[in-house]
């Protein structure tokens, strides 16, 4: 019983604090306190997340599962960046050491001029930007292969997509100066109407769910156990 009732009770209390601070000045301090707790809990959950990634990948390596080499690379990355960004700065601060350097780069810290920053700029940034950049190629390939106008709705989507794609870039105006105007109309009328409907619908759904949590009726957030 306690496994369900206590979390429901806690969610209700926290929820009422959040609502209460909008209406009662005396509730604001409580609301602020709860939000600060939320920030701390979220930060702690990141540590938990990293620990979980390490555990899962250690298991993968130890069992020599498929692609275990990638898991090892991931663990090495976590170990190196964690050591440079977290362990060394703490040790450095504890021993009040001077400038710890390796190959001209600071060893303790994450700001510019450190080895951590160098690895971030020379490894993480290009890899991450490349992953995002590859999307252009896959979108082009998918557009050619999968974007088939089989129904009137698909035709409407295709025409709107082509107009917006061409109208959002300068070449659209060169082709025909009406394309940017059509693009603006699509964005400001049909797109806006649909997005606003979705937003208002989601907000009403959020209010209803929130109210159910505040009243202790909604229990799905506890999971199925």
């Amino acid at each position: 019983m306690l496994r369900r009732e206590i979390p429901i009770f806690l969610a209700m209390i926290v929820g009422w604090f959040m609502v209460g601070e909008f209406f009662f000045p005396w509730a604001e301090a409580g609301g602020t306190e709860v939000q600060q707790m939320a920030v701390i809990i979220t930060a702690a959950s990141v540590v938990l997340g990293v620990a979980n990634v390490i555990r899962i990948n250690l298991l993968k390596v130890s069992r020599r599962e498929k692609d275990w080499q990638y898991a090892m690379l991931l663990l090495a990355g976590i170990a190196l960046m964690g050591f440079l960004g977290t362990v060394l700065p703490v040790v450095h601060a504890a021993v009040h050491g001077g400038a710890w350097k390796l190959g001209g780069f600071g060893l303790a810290g994450i700001t510019s001029g450190t080895l951590f920053d160098r690895l971030y700029n020379r490894v993480y940034v290009p890899l991450s930007a490349t992953m995002y950049g590859l999307l252009a190629f896959y979108i082009a390939s998918a557009a050619f292969r999968a974007f088939r106008v089989r129904t009137p709705e698909a035709a409407l989507l295709a025409v709107a997509a082509i107009i917006v794609m061409i109208g959002r870039v300068p070449i659209g105006e060169k082709i025909w100066d009406g394309i940017p105007l059509l693009t603006d109309w699509i964005m400001n009328v049909p797109n806006l109407a649909a997005k606003r409907a979705i937003l208002i619908g989601a907000a009403l759904g959020g209010i209803a769910t929130g109210l159910k949590i505040l009243l202790g009726i909604e229990r799905n957030f506890l999971g199925s156990d």
Binding site: Q35, S112, F144, I166, V169, I171, K174, L192
Partner: protein
């Protein structure tokens, strides 16, 4: 196999090559195209243009290296515009990998205007907590960020004491404008929902092209005073502040890429219907 069927079943590596050529050609031969200014982009520009010398803005730089190509030009242009107008900046990020990007952008633009760290701009770093952090910043910046990105106490930074009559800067409302450059969650939508309305702080946003349609309702409702969408938004902003950068350079490449994708959609469909009609007439 007929030619039309071979085109329909074209190996995707040929499409990749076509895209590579379409995007690299304008960059190699330096093609520049005239840019159009949208009302949303004009709103972004004018919100910053209206600021007075000495005003302070909160810069929420919420993206990581994945969004660098689209959002770096926006961030650099916004910093250039703000420093040029002698506006002071309190910047931070809610994305774990976002801090070094903001630091790099500061380092790239601040020396051009002889701006001093701690006096003209501050980098608060990263804080986990998403919407909770946003709301807390509206109540007390020091509670969320007791120290800056470099570990310096906020109270020892002159900028954090440069409010009206030397009062401390400690709430988002002590700033004049919220400038958000974001690629996803947490980003523009959350800043509008948690801060714009609750603390009544004027706000502008620069976002990835894919997110821009979602934020149009906020522009029309006046919750966003301006919106820059993707590289096209960055390019029009660069043009407005007369500082051509990667946004303007990249627009020619993006133009050809968009036209290529549009032509591929048309070609794919023409081949599909042609082959289907031929198949039907044979049977």
């Amino acid at each position: 196999m007929s030619l039309t069927k071979r085109i329909e079943a074209l190996d995707r590596r040929w499409i990749f090559l076509l895209m590579l050529l379409a995007m690299s050609f304008p960059l190699i031969v330096h093609i520049t195209l005239p840019l159009r200014v949208t009302p949303e982009g004009r709103g972004f520009y004018e919100s910053i243009e209206k600021l007075q010398s000495g005003d302070i803005v909160y810069l929420a730089s919420d993206y990581d290296p994945g969004g660098k190509a689209e959002l770096d030009p926006m961030l650099l242009a916004a910093l250039d515009h703000l420093f040029r107008k002698n506006v002071k900046i309190v910047g931070a990020t809610l994305w774990p990998a976002g801090s070094p990007l903001l630091e790099r952008a500061y380092n790239a633009v601040a020396p051009k205007y002889n701006k001093t760290y701690g006096v003209d701009y501050v980098h608060l770093g990263f804080k986990e907590g998403k919407e909770n952090v946003m709301v807390q910043l509206g109540k007390s910046i020091r509670e969320v960020f007791p120290t800056d990105y470099y570990g310096t106490k906020l109270d020892s930074l002159p900028l954090m004491h440069s409010g009206l009559n030397g009062t401390p800067i400690d709430k988002l409302n002590d700033t004049k404008l919220l400038v958000n450059i974001s690629i996803g969650y947490p980003g523009t939508r959350e800043w509008v929902q948690q801060v714009r309305s609750r603390f009544n702080l004027p706000m502008v946003s620069g976002c990835a092209a894919v997110s821009a349609p979602e934020y149009y309702p906020y522009v029309q409702s006046g919750q966003l005073a301006g919106l820059l969408g993707g590289l096209a938004g960055a390019a029009e902003y660069e043009q407005m502040i007369d500082r051509p950068g990667w946004g303007v350079t990249g627009m020619a490449a993006q133009s050809l890429a968009h036209v290529t994708i549009a032509l591929l959609i048309v070609l794919g469909n023409v081949m599909y219907f042609w082959n289907r009609r031929k198949g039907a007439s044979r049977s």
